[in-house]
């Protein structure tokens, strides 16, 4: 029941998204615009500072993720469908997991373009340890999306949700960004600094566990009126 509900919510979100590709396209181009803006801020005499590539990658993911979170739930609010979802005789945490999976798919599409783009623009050896990088992106995206989905869902009733979401999200996800940036930087250094990267990945995974548990725990009382 739990898994089936979550997958149904995910399928619903993907079906809506596939029709117009609105969120994918807009957030993707927003992410690319972020990369460009930061490139112009950082690059001097044709050279980017050594750690610029991972920093820009994670900033672009965080910014476009915030935008995607806002848009996904705006859609639910606009057609009053979140109320319908909450009225359904389904476990509430399953709804949360469904929305979270949808968010992760969106961000994964973003990253699929961002990583090669940054590798191309900054000459960063992004694919030196592909599996490691994949783990970092997966763990970082999960942590960011877990908090983001919870906050965006609860902000849906608030008039000032557009500005409150980043205000709430960024201070809490700062450790995620630090782990992501420092870990990716360790992967990009030559030779690859594997012990450091493993350590950051371990902290990131611990944060995943805490964030997902807390979100599942608080979603139910939060969404009941």
């Amino acid at each position: 029941m739990f898994v089936r509900t979550a997958i149904l919510v995910l399928k619903k979100d993907l079906a809506i998204e596939v029709k117009t590709l609105e969120i994918v396209m807009t957030t993707l181009f927003f992410a690319v615009a972020c990369v460009l803006v930061f490139s112009f801020a950082f690059v001097r005499e044709g050279q980017a500072p050594p750690d610029a590539a991972p920093a820009i990658l994670w900033i672009a993911v965080a910014f476009s993720g915030t935008l995607a979170l806002g848009r996904t739930f705006e859609r639910e609010r606009y057609s009053e469908t979140l109320r319908a979802l909450l009225l359904a005789p389904a476990p509430r945490p399953a709804l949360y997991v469904g929305k979270l999976l949808g968010m992760i798919v969106l961000l994964a599409l973003d990253e699929l373009v961002l990583v090669p783009l940054i590798a191309f623009l900054f000459g960063a050896p992004m694919f030196a340890r592909p599996l490691f990088l994949l783990l970092f992106l997966a763990a970082g995206t999960l942590a960011f999306a877990a908090v983001g989905t919870l906050f965006a869902a609860m902000l849906i009733r608030s008039r000032t949700r557009d500005v409150l979401l980043p205000i709430l999200l960024y201070p809490i996800t700062v450790p995620v960004i630090i782990c992501g940036v420092r870990g990716t930087a360790a992967l990009l250094s030559s030779p690859v600094d594997e012990p450091t990267a493993t350590m950051w990945l371990a902290i990131l995974i611990a944060m995943d566990v805490v964030f997902v548990t807390l979100s599942l725990w608080t979603f139910e009382p939060l969404m009941s009126e």
Binding site: V147, M154, S158, R159, L168, P171, V174, I203, L222
Partner: protein, 222 residues
Amino acid sequence: MRKAFAPLAVVTGLLFAIAPFVIANAPYEQTMLLIQKIFYFHVPSWVAMYCGLIVAAIASILYLFKGSKAADRYAVSAAELIVVFGLNGLISGPLWARKAWGVWWQWDVKLTSALLLWLMFVAYLLVRKYGGPGSEKLAAVVAIFGAAVSPFVYVSVNIWRTMHPKTSVVPDIIKNPTTGFAGPLLLSMLAFVLLFCLLLMLRVRLAERQDALDELYLAYED
């Protein structure tokens, strides 16, 4: 609780009255001399802030899961005190750092994690003020996440950078009472913690009055 208020206020007042003399008579630290005295103000501010963090987190959990209105009043009062005492620490810290390190701000673990924690509770107050109806629950989740994420902030920033005097400075001082720093420090901490309790009681009382007034208005309109 209300009966304890007056005696507590007297004790706190006395502690604050004698603290300047005790601090003035405390020995000078060998390398930092006079500027070390800000320590008696700075460390207790953070102690009071962390008291607030504990109260806010526990009260938020109680409010979210038990729906206790009283717990919510404690949570919002503690959050406001976190912002006040945190600001105290964030101002007194750079004043000392300018003299001791030669810079106002360093991206060191304690500064950064304290700043982030403080920002989370500023966000908490913003949500409550501008979040519209139902924002109390939302704010409660922010407080719970704030408390849960603070160890991660500490660990990640710690590995990222570090420069602040080690936290073990404080336990070391308390363990070696002969140096003469322990007495004034403990006294200042006690004064600040009592001040925190007093302000919390006052603020909770104010919140109770506000809620009672809101209920009266509703009853009148019906």
